[in-house]
Assembly symmetry: C2
């Protein structure tokens, strides 16, 4: 394979609750390897998984650690991107882990770590070729969070806090959130809360069967689908009104399991627009798009985190998927 001389290759690793995905980006911003493995939890499990995926990727790309410029990691939880320390990544069983320095010592390469939603926003900007447009990535996973790029540059806020919009209360009647508040966006649209409600409903419904059941006339399924879409619609409206985002990319397990929720969200936004000339002027429904589950957005974003290092995180240059990166995958 040919690689540009401008920049050394970068490895990106996305550590998720169930799987960990790695990619190698060469100096021409081409994805030349793409591998995944099942995540082992706990601090040592996360480290072992990340190292195994990293070594697998490098072997596949034919790149040695000595050639590697940097490594970027995206991981859930509160991440201090300056120190590489991860805190309270509950689903991974991590209280506090100096992930950046541990991986860096193992690989002998600088390792930069960031929150996974922030990293994925860079991947989404790349996938959508968003250029200098103001873009928000809205992650609808177990929890709800967003990350916004303004003029291509990531908004961090104090202590990397920007984007914790899942914990804005939007409906006092909606029930208690895991965070302790009442009626957060996450109560309506977070995967954890949805799963709890479906389990408690004792109807046998799951997120995968919800929309079909709603279409078949099941009232409980219809109510639940509307509840989730209301949460997503309000989150979209919130990020557009707060940041003025031109585009809102939706991703995460909830919408990837039930993509029909995105259409339902569009219908709700259009309904709100019929009541409000102001909202109609914004065309919120037209700003949203679902990012594909099969594209390694999060790992590409992680590689861009690695490439940026301690500089401002921004998306500048299109990444291209090399077909061979996956065909070579065992």
């Amino acid at each position: 394979m040919s690689r540009g001389d401008a920049q050394p290759p970068t490895l990106g690793i996305d550590v998720g609750g169930t799987k960990t995905q790695g990619i190698v980006l060469d100096g021409d911003a081409r994805v030349i390897a793409d591998r995944r493995g099942r995540t082992e939890t706990g601090p040592s499990g996360v480290i072992a998984t990340a190292l195994a995926v990293a070594r697998d990727c490098l072997r596949l790309a034919g790149v040695g650690t000595a050639e590697l410029g940097s490594v970027g990691v995206g991981i859930p939880g509160r991440v201090d991107h300056r120190t590489g320390v991860v805190c309270t990544a509950v689903n991974l069983g991590i209280g506090r882990l100096e992930l950046g320095s541990v991986l860096s010592a193992e690989l002998g390469v600088p390792v930069y770590v960031d929150n996974d939603v922030k990293a994925t926003a860079l991947g989404a900007a790349d996938y959508l070729r968003a250029g200098e447009a103001d873009l928000t990535y809205l992650n609808l996973g177990t929890g709800v969070a967003s990350a916004t790029l303004i003029g291509g540059r990531l908004v961090r806020g104090t202590d990397n806090l920007a984007g914790e919009i899942g914990h804005v209360p939007v409906d006092p009647t909606a029930g208690r959130c895991a965070c302790g508040q009442q009626g957060c966006i996450e109560v309506l649209a977070g995967g954890g809360q949805i799963a709890n409600r479906l389990a408690a409903g004792d109807s046998g419904l799951t997120l995968s069967t919800l929309l079909a059941a709603a279409e078949a006339g099941d009232q409980a399924a219809t109510d639940e689908a509307l509840r989730i879409a209301t949460g997503i619609a309000t989150a979209v409206q919130l990020v557009v009104l707060a940041h003025g985002s031109t585009r809102v990319a939706l991703g995460g397990g909830v919408v990837q399991t039930a993509p029909g929720l995105v259409d339902l969200t569009r219908r709700l936004l259009d309904e709100r627009a019929r009541q409000s000339e102001f909202l109609a002027s914004l065309d919120l429904a037209g700003r949203i798009s679902l990012v594909p589950a099969e594209h390694p957005l999060a790992a590409i974003g992680a590689a861009l985190v690695g490439r940026a290092g301690v500089a401002d995180l921004r998306w500048e240059r299109p990444v291209r998927m090399e077909p061979a990166s996956r065909e070579r995958q065992s």
Copy 2:
């Protein structure tokens, strides 16, 4: 008076619903004149008022239009800062007005126009000496809107839209908003809606007497004060979670008429923090401060709009009030 040679003086004009205020900023970022007049409404009224205040300020400062580098104007409504066109400034009786080009032709100086909340955010950053901190100015006037500086630079979003957070729905039971939606933040905390409720209540209460009546045990007053403070608290929480703002400056007629609402908002935020470890970790109450009504934040911000011209709007350098600027005022 001595003026620095680095930059020519700038005139800033804040056009409000009832008064228009002008200031002159010299090359050393000192306020050397500060005047106000009553706003006449309608396109020609607004122009006549702005020109009268401008000429008054220049006379007071001893600055001719030929010496002036630029003029900045802050005005309510949707403003295209690139063209100086103001749309739908309802309280001023303006449907569409090419304010920038009209004033520029009259004064013979480049005139830059921006939304008043965005201009005031620059003035608030200056007043609080916010430096590179991420700061949100939350305006609680007839409507509710915000403007955020990230690293000192103003967030605009598509079509200068960023900050229209008054129209995020946060309580489906709170009643209809002027925008057509149900339960917007502006329904809870916007001055127009508050005045309507107080008038409809037939209790003789006004915003000025509300908190005293609540303290004296009036239940309707207590409920209304809590409703307003809930709206303010949710707006504060929204901007901190969306932008990660380190500080939130509160201003506008509602909190300037009833400053006790800021203390009540702090108490509500502390109460929410007691229910939620996550919120407690953010110390939202500690991030807010009330900006003083008597300091010409909005006009100083307008001057900074003028100084920036078409460049990115940012606060860079402290402005100092020259005592003489007001003492000389007639």
